[in-house]
């Protein structure tokens, strides 16, 4: 359900970008999904099919790229790759982490016509 709202937001965002660029449609949309964003790419794909159904995006190819999550340990300063199941510093086992990358979901590029 969470992904539903996000994919709907993607569709509206793409609508706006196409209009601004004087384009009629998109043959491919590339999304970047961060490992720490809590967004599940597989669900995004399913939801996209649902929100695109009956719209001009029915035939649009959706490309999903993942962005690794990295964080800095606020105790020892080490930076490392991290995933949501294991939010702990590999060095000092500190749990106070500041996420650095992989928290976002972005529309990377659109192949438009």
């Amino acid at each position: 359900m969470h992904e539903m709202g996000l994919t709907d937001a993607v569709l509206k965002m793409v609508d706006g970008i196409l209009e601004k660029n004087g384009c009629r449609g998109a043959s491919r949309i590339t999304l970047e999904i961060g490992d720490l964003s809590g967004v599940v790419p597989r669900f995004v794909r399913d939801c996209w099919e649902a929100v695109a159904d009956g719209t001009k995006y029915e035939a649009t190819e959706l490309v999903l790229e993942t962005v690794p999550g990295t964080a800095r340990c606020l105790d020892c300063g080490r930076e490392f790759t991290v995933n949501l199941d294991d939010l702990v510093c590999p060095d000092c086992l500190g749990r106070k982490l500041k996420p650095l990358t992989g928290t976002d979901m972005t529309v990377k590029e659109i192949e438009a016509y």
Binding site: A9, I17, G38, M105, T106, K108, E109, E111, Y113
Partner: protein
């Protein structure tokens, strides 16, 4: 065949909502309306806590409640029964409210005439935490039967909240709920989090929570 062009976008899906949330907050500041986004899992006692809070504030604060639910009006009816204006927002199957839905709700509700509005979010500890609704403060309720380990299992919601209400303290003797541990775990996620243990059933512990609300309503609406 039309020529194909590649548009480099690099635009965050979350940022769109964040921008809108910022606009909602600016409007609330101008209208002198303090909006609290209330979150919890289903059954933690959002509506009961709200009813008690209303009872203690309604004589001297102009307040209203926006109830967000996937598809029912059970809660809005209960709030209307307490004698304060309420509206029901349906998210249409979605698991959270976003800033745009909040904006529409506030407009329909004529929230600018109120000092204090509570947005009761969909019962869920995951999705509402990820979407800024545009509220001035975020408050979450965790109830004793849910267990003291929730800050470890749902870290994000604890980081985005200003206040943690620990509800149902009247049943503490029947559960292995460690109050010290929950405070420790919650502060690990968010050192600034204010914690108010209370019971919406007996009314115990409400004074500090009500005092916090009065102080924050006054500061926002100054």
């Amino acid at each position: 065949m039309d020529p194909v062009k590649i548009i480099e976008v690099k635009q965050s899906v979350f940022a769109d909502n964040d921008r809108e949330a910022g606009e909602v907050r600016a409007m609330l500041k101008k209208d002198k309306t303090f909006l609290v986004n209330l979150m919890s899992s289903p059954g933690a006692g959002k509506t009961t806590t709200l009813l008690k809070t209303i009872e203690l504030l309604k004589n001297d604060v102009k307040l209203g409640v926006m109830e967000a639910d996937i598809d029912s009006d059970v809660d809005a009816k209960k709030i209307a029964g307490a004698g304060v204006p309420s509206i029901q927002l349906h998210t249409g199957g979605m698991c959270h409210l976003d800033a745009e839905m909040t904006r529409q709700g506030l407009a329909e509700f004529h929230a600018e005439e109120l000092d204090f509005v509570v947005l009761e979010n969909v019962g869920n500890l995951v999705c509402p935490a990820e979407f800024d609704t545009g509220a001035c403060r975020n408050v979450m309720i965790l109830s004793v039967p849910e267990g003291h380990d929730k800050p470890l299992k749902y870290p994000l919601i604890f980081t985005v909240c200003d206040v943690l209400i620990i509800n149902k303290i009247d049943v503490l003797p029947y559960f292995d709920f460690d109050m010290q541990l929950v405070e420790q775990y919650a502060h690990m996620r968010n050192p600034k989090l204010k914690i108010f243990p209370l019971s919406a059933k007996t009314g115990e512990g409400f004074e500090p929570w009500i005092a916090w609300l009065r102080e924050n309503i006054a500061a926002w609406n100054r």
